[in-house]
Amino acid sequence: MSVTKDDVRKVARLSRIAVTEEHVEDLTGELNSIMGWIDQLNEVDVDGVEPMTSVVETKLPMREDVVTDGNIQDQVLANAPRSEDGFFVVPKAVE
């Protein structure tokens, strides 16, 4: 299975990474070489094999459904690129 330039454009969009047309060419080559190398996994017979979850058999723990923090608005906003009046300021999301 080879990666096309259209695949790269689509994957870049899905990854939300702006990619120039010039760079699409390079990336297509790189991704093709990496995916070509990865394709050797098709040699492995995985019929009836369960996907790995963890090395030590464990059950995911449950915790009490209670509030464990809060009232830390200043901490939550401390690293915001932009904030105002206790809110994050973001670009217009609804046209």
Binding site: V11, L14, A18, S33, W37, K92
Partner: protein
């Protein structure tokens, strides 16, 4: 004058307890050494004032005969661990000047035991790299150089800053992290010891996430005993990490001197790779001889799916990274680059904030997870992981630990391998299997290459059997008597 910086962690802790010197004295010596070694680029944030305040608090406790297991010991912290009030960026531009308001569990455990923080250590961006060349702050320079050659060498990656700082006596020991070999490979490249414990031993809370099913914390140190001391302090059960194991942390320090008499050591034939250099092969043979002489039984084993480990890793790790790194949208923290609209802002922020290798892996991850490909790639890779784990489970029926080289080569020069991504990935060929299977693995400096560079041997243990890694590691350390240090040129 700077002799205190040359101490092992164990010796420094003894000296502090005996009041042979104060925490302030040893901390000051390290601060000075760090200032004089900026050319190595090991630290990306230096925190001398914080270090001295922590040292004074340690001295006050030590004066009263109190103190934790690491009281007064100056350590370096990989920039992957969130440290409250100290900039943490995983060496990525996208995190801007991010300054956490909370502390990672692993580092909190160290401060609770009285450790002193010297600063944050350089690394590959988001831990994606094997040579430290992807850091936003530029690469770390290995304190080691080839004989008669003054070219700068890579300290390995991603924990290159941790390894170089320990090798260059810029901290007693350091925290690091390992997703595909990021503790063990830099340890091998710098003549230091590094261990990745069983997945789930250490909490991932507050560690900047790369690939959540593979990431694991661990130390890099000067000796096997030092690694045991630090790893014990780092590990704990943590309700804030649902994959953290609810089990006791053993006393590993006492395992280091136990020896290997009666242990069965497995030698996997698949690790004898085509094109592996003769000196690596010789070192491996030497390691086998040392363990035999110490009373271990050598057993030939087979791990037939070894060659599929790296390709499986390059599906699983990028897939999990593409999911984890989706959080960097420039809205809540980190750097934002404005675009024409919301999607344009996301795309500009991420194009500007992520480096080339991270972008490449995010796109691979997105590709293998995209509609229609999930079963063919991610699910298949997770099944191959099961086969790799089963190889180990079967092998451990006839042996107690496995001995391999850590890396296929000694440290290389910058640019030597950055042209071809796949060639760079092959650095992790011997280390990545332990991540995929979740097993503990330790790297021990065991000899020098023809060019005078350190070479490492790796010991892989059964799940939760770090004790075997420390026993065999301790034996290799005694047998190798590795005392070489880089000649100080910086």
């Amino acid at each position: 004058m700077t002799e205190l910086t040359k101490l092992t962690l164990a010796a420094a802790l003894d000296g502090l307890k005996a009041k042979s010197f104060s925490a302030r004295e040893i901390t000051q010596d390290f601060i000075q050494a760090i200032e004089q070694s900026r050319v190595l680029n090991a630290y990306v944030v230096e925190t001398p004032e914080k270090a001295l305040a922590m040292a004074d608090a340690s001295d006050a406790r030590l004066a009263k005969g109190e103190g934790g297991k690491l009281e007064g010991a100056p350590l370096g912290i990989k920039d992957l661990y969130c440290t409250a009030g100290v900039r943490t960026t995983a060496c990525s531009n996208i995190l801007g000047e991010f300054t956490p308001t909370y502390e990672s569990t692993v580092t909190q455990n160290l401060w609770d035991q009285g450790a002193v923080m010297l600063g944050k250590l350089n690394m590959d961006e988001f831990a994606m790299g094997s040579s430290n060349e992807t850091s936003r702050f530029g690469p770390v320079v290995n304190p080691w150089r080839r004989e008669g050659d003054n070219r700068d060498l890579t300290p390995g990656g991603s924990s290159g800053g941790s390894a170089a700082a320990v090798a260059g006596d810029l901290c007693l020991a350091a925290t690091a992290s390992d997703t595909g070999g990021s503790i063990r490979q830099p340890a091998a490249f710098t003549g230091t010891v590094g261990i990745k414990p069983t997945y789930g031993r250490a909490s991932r809370y507050g560690m900047v996430a790369f690939a959540s099913s593979l990431d694991q914390a661990g130390p890099i140190s000067k000796t096997v005993e030092d690694s045991a001391i630090l790893l014990e302090a780092m590990c704990s059960h943590d309700p804030k990490d649902s994959t953290s194991l609810n089990i006791e942390t053993p006393d590993w320090r006492s395992d280091v001197a136990k020896g290997v008499k009666g242990m069965r050591i497995g030698i996997p034939k698949e690790y004898r790779m085509d094109g592996m250099s003769e000196e690596i092969d010789k070192l491996w043979e030497q390691g086998i001889e040392w363990l035999k002489a110490a009373g271990a039984e050598i057993v030939d084993i087979s791990l037939p799916h070894t060659k599929y480990a790296l390709p499986a890793y390059y599906i699983v790790a990028p897939a999990e990274a593409s999911s984890n790194l989706a959080r960097y949208d420039g809205m809540r923290y980190g750097a934002r680059v404005d675009g024409d609209n919301l999607a344009g802002t996301y795309e500009a922020t991420r194009a500007d904030g992520f480096g080339a290798e991270v972008q490449r892996r995010l796109m691979i991850g997105t590709y293998v997870l995209s509609s229609g490909y999930y079963d063919a790639y991610y699910l298949r890779a997770q099944k191959v992981r099961t086969k790799i784990l089963n190889d180990f489970v079967e092998a451990f029926e006839s042996c107690d630990a496995i001995l391999t080289p850590t890396c296929p080569s000694p440290a290389f020069a910058f640019g030597e391998k950055s042209g071809d991504p796949v060639e760079m990935y092959l650095n992790d060929v011997f280390t990545v299997t332990a991540n995929l299977a979740g097993l503990p693995g330790i790297s021990i400096p065991a000899g020098l290459s023809a060019g005078g560079l350190p070479l490492g041997l790796q010991v892989i243990g059964k799940a939760l059997d770090e004790a075997a890694c420390f026993r065999v590691g301790g034996e290799l350390e005694r047998a190798a008597g590795f005392v070489a240090k880089p000649e100080k040129w910086w």
